[in-house]
């Protein structure tokens, strides 16, 4: 079974690999869009990653800042869909 820590690590690794950012820059509560770590294309690729990695489908209505603003928010969003 996948733990919250595993999920967090996967998401963090994904963001680091796709942005080439330093690992220290991205904390669990870092506002990844507000701070310009991911842009609009980054959001679309993130949605694709969530689909492929966690089989999680995102609807129009779920595209709100509360679900995606940080790694913590994404974890909460994934858990709410499980």
């Amino acid at each position: 079974m996948q733990t919250e820590t595993d999920t967090k690590t996967k998401i963090k690794n994904y963001i680091i690999e796709s942005t080439f950012d330093d690992v220290e820059k991205i904390k669990d509560a870092t506002l990844i869009f507000e701070e310009g770590i991911l842009d609009s294309m980054g959001l679309l690729f993130l949605i694709e990653f969530l689909q492929e990695e966690f089989n999680l489908t995102t609807s129009d209505e779920e595209l709100v800042v509360e679900n995606f603003q940080s790694i913590n928010s994404i974890i909460a969003f994934i858990e709410s869909k499980m």
């Binding site: 842009d39 609009s40 980054g42 959001l43 679309l44 689909q51 129009d60 709100v64 800042v65 603003q69």
Partner: protein, 326 residues
């Protein structure tokens, strides 16, 4: 010394001396084309939209109607009235060298329609491109703190509307396919420009240039952009002053790219032009959000969020405005 600036108001973008502004643009166009680019006239693609109409009117006044070639570049998805309006416009400014170049076959050769429809069909499986209409649009509020994501909307002949959030691969394929349209138009404009030793007039306005609402090497490929510094409401002001036909002024700006009716607001801007112009001006000139909010009848938080949206758009589209790096 302290400089005072105008308090923010709804009239702040109104051009007081429209005749002077027009004459300055016309004079600069002459210098740009004749002296800097060393060309003998101008080629312009006209669509029946407000931006190309104003650029054509300015070009006709700058070089004289016999030194301007107006080219209509329709394809199978273009709206029927685009051509009628473009012809009316050319007649109004006495441009006799008008050419119609239907680019449908070229686009078909590139696989533009097939590639686009394949991508739509992967998302909406019962999409039938022979009878259904389709478009892509942003459904989120412009004041959202999350970047926008596109949805594809299919309209069935019976009026049924099916809309789904676009996965990234399909989104990119649809955009890359439809961008053949602007790039094919650019190629055709340069064919005529080189044939005549003319320059190509680009029609993007300030928002299109700065928010990245243009196709790199497509409608962004031109020699001069005479209205690239003007807000959309100022383009309308010029249109009225220059005598652009009223039907063109009254027409809702569309992308004229997808088979379903698609306004520029739905597709990209997420708010009406009048509002966008003013908030953009406020953002660009660093007016505090609360001062803009009062005038616009919005909350300061809303304006702050729009400021962030603008900042994000300008940053993420920087690539479109960049020259090749070497």
């Amino acid at each position: 010394m302290t400089t005072t600036r105008k308090p923010f108001s709804k009239d702040i973008l109104h051009i007081e001396n429209i005749d002077i502004v027009c004459n300055e643009i016309i004079s600069k166009l002459k210098t740009d084309i004749a002296k800097t680019l060393q060309r003998r006239g101008a080629v312009i693609g006209i669509s029946g939209g407000i931006d190309s109409s104003v650029c054509m009117a300015l070009s006709a006044k700058a070089f004289g109607p016999n030194k301007v070639t107006a080219i209509m570049l329709p394809e199978q998805d273009s709206s029927d009235d685009s051509r009628m309006l473009a012809e009316k416009l050319a007649a109004k400014f006495e441009i006799t060298d008008t050419i119609v170049e239907d680019i449908t076959k070229a686009l078909d050769g590139f696989g533009c329609y097939q590639r686009r429809d394949d991508a739509i069909g992967r998302v909406i499986t019962n999409f039938d491109p022979t009878i259904d209409k389709a478009k892509i649009e942003i459904k989120q509020d412009a004041a959202s703190n999350l970047p926008p994501a596109f949805s594809v909307t299919v309209i069935k002949p019976n009026g049924e509307v099916i809309s789904k959030l676009l996965p990234v691969k399909e989104y990119l394929q649809i955009v890359a396919s439809t961008n053949f349209k602007q790039r094919s138009r650019m190629s055709m404009l340069y064919y005529h420009a080189e044939r005549l030793h003319y320059a190509v007039i680009g029609t993007p306005n300030k928002h299109e240039v700065e928010q990245g609402f243009f196709v790199k090497h497509g409608d962004g490929g031109a020699d001069v952009m005479p209205i690239g510094h003007l807000y959309k409401t100022q383009v309308y002001q010029l249109a009225r002053y220059l005598g652009v036909p009223q039907e063109i002024i009254d027409r809702t700006p569309t992308t004229d790219t997808y088979t379903a009716e698609q306004t520029q607001e739905d597709f990209f801007y997420q708010m009406p032009f009048e509002q966008m112009d003013l908030i953009w001006y406020g953002w660009e000139n660093e007016y505090p959000a609360n001062e803009v909010a009062k005038v616009m009848g919005r909350t300061p938080q809303y304006i702050e969020n729009i400021y962030k949206n603008f900042e994000r758009k300008r940053k993420t589209t920087e690539y479109l405005r960049m020259r090749p790096i070497f």
